[in-house]
């Protein structure tokens, strides 16, 4: 049953096209980062910028007179004068910043996993294929569990592929217009843990999307519930009941993924507690969805 559901998940054109579109977006981002990065560090850039500045030119041509005693040569004297007038930004791309980038990209990846999970279940109801499926496997818990397993596996693969592509697309910027310094054991450990938390958030999003679609028996209902909750209800709660904010799903996912609960107003529990809370919410939604799936007539 799981093999059947996995085959269906990976055969879906929506999954393929959305992944390709997303990957193209990542490739474009990688390209933008590349062209906006500069190979030279601030010091080298500064040297060039200072030496070509009008102030330096004027000084070299004797506009500020001879250098005072102890100020070194005329070039050194003029360099010092011109340096203070210029701000130089470090435009090199550091691969060690990937940790934060992975976290940032997890937001759209998780939304995509939610959408694909919802569509995976919703399409079954809309096309009527759930009836066909249940004439092959009558145990509803098996059908639900197999679909959930496919969504979990699909969300994980989606996450791995997209984050892997992101790293791949940003690697040239690090190699040729930045730095790969700082990728020590501690960095790999921290980044591995970040990726694990981000992957967990993506899987939860996929499963919740599937569960909502199971409750509403179509994809649009799942999207409506999901976005209605996140965009409308959570913002209303933030505005009207700020003391409840620490229990909001989005805040807890954020606290868990970033491991920085203090960044979320009113959050009084730890990042791991936030993760457990999100897991509890997802489990409750899934159990309710299964309950309805098991009990309702398939007409």
């Amino acid at each position: 049953m799981i093999a059947s559901e996995l085959l269906r998940y990976r055969s879906r054109r929506l999954v393929k096209w959305m992944t390709i579109l997303f990957a193209l977006g990542l490739a474009f981002s990688g390209f933008l980062v590349f062209i906006n990065s500069e190979a030279e560090g601030p010091a080298a850039i500064a040297t060039g910028a200072i030496e070509s500045s009008p102030l330096y030119e004027e000084c070299i041509s004797g506009g500020f007179g001879d250098p005072p005693p102890g100020a070194g040569s005329l070039e050194e004297f003029c360099f010092e004068i011109a340096r203070d007038s210029i701000f130089i930004e470090d435009k090199r791309f550091y691969f060690s910043d990937m940790d934060d980038i992975f976290m940032g990209v997890t937001v759209p990846v998780a939304l995509l996993a939610f959408f694909l999970g919802a569509s995976f279940m919703g399409a079954e109801w809309q096309k009527g294929t759930m009836t066909t499926t249940l004439t092959w496997e009558s145990r509803r818990w098996t059908v639900f569990a197999a679909k959930m397993a496919a969504v979990v596996a699909g969300s994980l693969v989606l996450f791995a592929v997209l984050q892997g592509l992101l790293a791949l697309f940003l690697l040239p910027s690090a190699l040729f217009r930045g730095s790969t310094a700082g990728l020590d054991a501690a960095w790999w450990q921290d980044t591995g843990a970040t990726l694990a938390r981000c992957a967990a958030a993506t899987v939860v999003a996929g499963v919740v999307g599937m569960s909502f679609a199971s409750l509403g028996r179509n994809t649009a209902a799942a999207l409506g519930i999901g976005f209605g909750y996140m965009v409308v209800l959570e913002n209303l709660i933030r505005a009207l009941k700020p003391q409840w904010q620490q229990w909001l799903v989005v805040d807890n996912i954020g606290a868990f993924v970033t491991e920085d609960p203090l960044s979320f107003p009113g959050m009084r529990h730890s990042a791991s507690s936030a993760g457990l809370l999100v897991l509890a919410y997802a489990t409750a939604i899934t159990v309710i969805a299964y309950g309805f799936f098991r009990a309702r007539d398939v007409t």
Partner: protein
């Protein structure tokens, strides 16, 4: 041995504003093993509801059911691999090819690729198996549904309105396929509102009306159980004999060289006497054949479905 046994099956759908719609009101049914069994009834009579109950898709409100000896409510799992089914229009994934749809289903039971090719061949879809289902005609979708139902090589095939959407050639193909499966010892349970389909395909029939079975048995027995409505008389001059009977106050008409008399067979002596008194001697007198249309109409009070193409089944 019966492959399907139903006793007092009831299904009520509760309405949001109170009250309930009764889809099945105490259905009794017994389907013997082997052959083709027709489950006939007008749209809305409860055919699809019965099929859905048997397949565990909906829960009955009461009554008993046995499918291949198992109770579908508690033990469907033990027999579902021996049952192939289509419920209403067979639903497949439109974005996948016909073959991929069968592969997805086949993986549920580890069915080999060779079997998929066999059933595609059986329903004449092998040449179009690579095409996406959304590009199939309704008839092709129906044939793919039948292929899916046959994939498990089931003992019992439950087909809900299998002729829906098929062209006459497709209907003939399906009819022959079902008869062949029946002859091979499988039980084919066909629900339909098309009398001609049932009449030409089935060995046994049950007629359903308003959620109850109003007649059941071998097709010949169901027909013979009903009273013939008239008498057929063969005479040398049918038109002249019709006039003689008219003079005697007996309604009669000619039909393809024979005389159709509107009297019950028990009053055949009146016809004989009226004709003999005027020197006309008949060569044959027999009760009219009772056709399924008549029986259906008598039992259900509704005209049977006639057009086998493009009708929507709601039963």
């Amino acid at each position: 041995m019966s492959v399907i046994e139903i006793r007092g099956l009831r299904k009520e759908y509760r309405r949001l504003r109170g009250g309930a719609t009764v889809a099945l009101s105490g259905l009794d049914l017994e389907v013997p093993a082997g052959g083709v069994y027709g489950f006939l009834g007008p749209n809305g009579s409860g055919k699809t509801t019965t099929v859905r109950c048997l397949l565990g898709l909906i829960g009955p409100s009461g009554g008993e059911m046995r499918l291949l000896g198992a109770d579908p409510r508690s033990d469907l799992r033990s027999v579902i691999s021996r049952v192939g089914a289509i419920v209403e229009t067979p639903a497949m994934f439109p974005g996948f090819s016909g073959r991929r749809n069968l592969e997805i289903l086949g993986r549920t039971e580890d069915i080999e690729a060779t079997r998929i090719e066999e059933v595609l061949e059986l329903v004449s879809l092998r040449d179009r198996a690579k095409d996406r289902v959304k590009n199939y005609s309704l008839g092709m979708k129906q044939r793919l549904g039948i292929a899916a139902a046959l994939l498990k090589d089931p003992e019992l095939l439950i087909l809900d309105e299998p002729a829906n959407g098929l062209d006459p050639a497709g209907i003939k193909e399906v009819r022959e396929l079902l008869r062949r499966l029946g002859r091979e010892g499988k039980t084919v349970f066909v629900s339909s509102h098309i009398l001609s389909e049932v009449r030409q395909t089935c060995d046994h029939v049950a007629i359903l009306a308003r959620g109850r079975c109003v007649a059941e048995g071998a097709v010949a027995d169901v027909l013979s159980s009903r009273r013939a409505a008239g008498i057929t008389v063969r005479v040398p001059d049918a038109a002249g004999a019709a006039a003689i009977l008219g003079d005697a106050g007996i309604e009669a008409r000619t039909d393809e060289g024979v005389l159709k008399v509107a009297l019950p067979p028990s009053e055949g002596a009146r016809v004989t006497k009226a004709l003999a008194d005027r020197g006309v001697y008949l060569s044959e007198l027999r009760p009219d054949e009772v056709d399924l249309e008549t029986v259906f109409l008598e039992l259900t009070g509704e005209p049977p479905g006639e057009d086998p193409i493009g009708e929507e089944a709601e039963g």
